[in-house]
Subunit: 244 residues, 2 copies
DNA sequence: ACAAAAGTGTTCGAACTACACCCATGG
DNA sequence: CCATGGGTGTAGTTCGAACACTTTTGT
């Protein structure tokens, strides 16, 4: 196995959607004193790790994501690099790093990636750590500067969601228009009129209706749709907009 | 002086506009054999340098920019981090790095910033290196992976220019609407109808007309305008758009 | 039969497109 | 007086916002 680069890491902000809320995946960071059993640290962090010497950033991010979800080919996008001088030097953070054997360094810079997955179908792999989805409206205490990183990730996600069709990555392959609408509403923090939203989405030729309906719901079953990336790429146009 | 971090640098893509074209600032990278005088390297690079141990990315980028232009408070934005495994290992690149005394490293990751300045008024500082503006349509051969970095910077600049009023950073404080239109046209690679462009811009309350006209032009002098960031921040709205 | 969400159409105002002629200045 | 770019208005169309009732299913 290649050696790690001690002062460079990748952190993944893994977003999931459960048809109701936007969630983020966090791992527990817990440390107890070996003699007394006193709890020295108990908080949560994003999922991240040092890069290896023979690996670039994208590969490292994909490796981290695969280690948690078992999944390949997930939407991943680099969004920002964080290098504040003391970003890992708070007392709890230094303590934690000294207990992790690999490559302690005074200063670690990290490259942030965000990832979008449908969290109704994924199964988390635990690897001895406690791993959980948290709604972004109910976050626990976060270690390092991970609150800053998460906020920046959310900002970039919102901005990208406004201009590119990445929301579909957060839904199962087949979805209903109400699910899509709910997704836009919770991520952007807005409400849309149902008729107008449907009208807008139905104009998009890359959102393709299926001859298939929802099953097992206790109300009128909705039509299912799929997103075609191929049609999107073929038909997209650019637009100039700087808002008033 | 603090020590440099040997495996981390910041590169600045400095864009300038001269009322006609979009330009980028490059420095010459020239190396001759000490005995024979044979030219070993002669190409150009972006302006970049290692970060110091006591400095974060934004500070390093501002330092590099100041070293070239003497200017503070210039628009600077981090746009991407580059960490391909062999990004500085082409023969010419290794040779160059070995001749620079400071901190040679097998792998250097770099954080890219782009900067926007009005290149009709700035004076370049040379510090023994040859420094020049190149139109982005007529680039010379670039060292390292700087062609990739420049392309990514351009992509981000275009995308940001479409949705936020950053174009004004490329113009002098007082500008005409034709200059603004030309700027949008060359950066985005499009043409706009003059009447429609004016109508659109004049609706923006943060583009403020002055009681002042161009001087010394050999045609009807145009009215001058200023951009008010303050008004923009106060009146901006968000919009949801993913294009058809 | 009731609860729950799906599905549907019209009207109004705002914004975008296309397009051609006169004006002020310097040389 | 000529060359150069500045400045202006309208008609047609498209796009977005607001708004309420009927349908289908499971229980």
């Amino acid at each position: 196995m290649a050696k790690i680069v001690p002062n460079i890491s990748v952190d993944c902000v893994i977003f999931g959607f459960d048809f109701n809320q936007l969630n983020v995946l966090l791992v527990e960071r817990k440390l107890e004193d070996e003699q007394s059993g006193a709890v020295l640290i108990d908080d949560w962090t994003l999922t991240g790790y040092h890069i290896f010497e023979d690996e670039d950033f994208d590969t490292a991010a994909a490796r981290i994501l695969k280690g948690l979800s078992g999944l390949d080919n997930i939407y991943l996008e680099q969004f920002y690099a964080f290098g504040a001088i003391r970003r890992v030097n708070a007392p709890k953070d230094s303590l934690w790093l000294q207990h992790q054997l690999e490559g302690f360094s005074e200063r670690i810079v990290t490259v942030g990636y965000f990832s979008l997955i449908d969290n109704t179908t994924v199964t988390l792999l635990h690897n001895n750590r406690n791993v959980r989805w948290f709604p972004i409206t109910e976050l626990p205490e976060l270690g390092f500067d991970h609150k800053d990183i998460l906020e920046k990730a959310l900002e970039k996600l919102r901005s990208k969601l406004r201009s590119e069709p990445i929301g579909f990555e957060l839904l199962p392959e087949k979805f209903t228009l109400s699910q899509l609408q709910r997704l836009y509403e919770v991520v952007l923090g807005t409400k849309f009129d149902r008729r107008n939203f449907r009208k807008k989405v139905l104009q998009m030729k890359y959102v393709i209706p299926l001859d298939e309906k929802q099953k097992g719901v206790k109300h009128k079953p909705a039509q299912l749709f799929i997103f075609s990336k191929e049609v999107y790429e073929r038909t997209k146009t650019e637009r100039f907009d700087f808002s008033i």
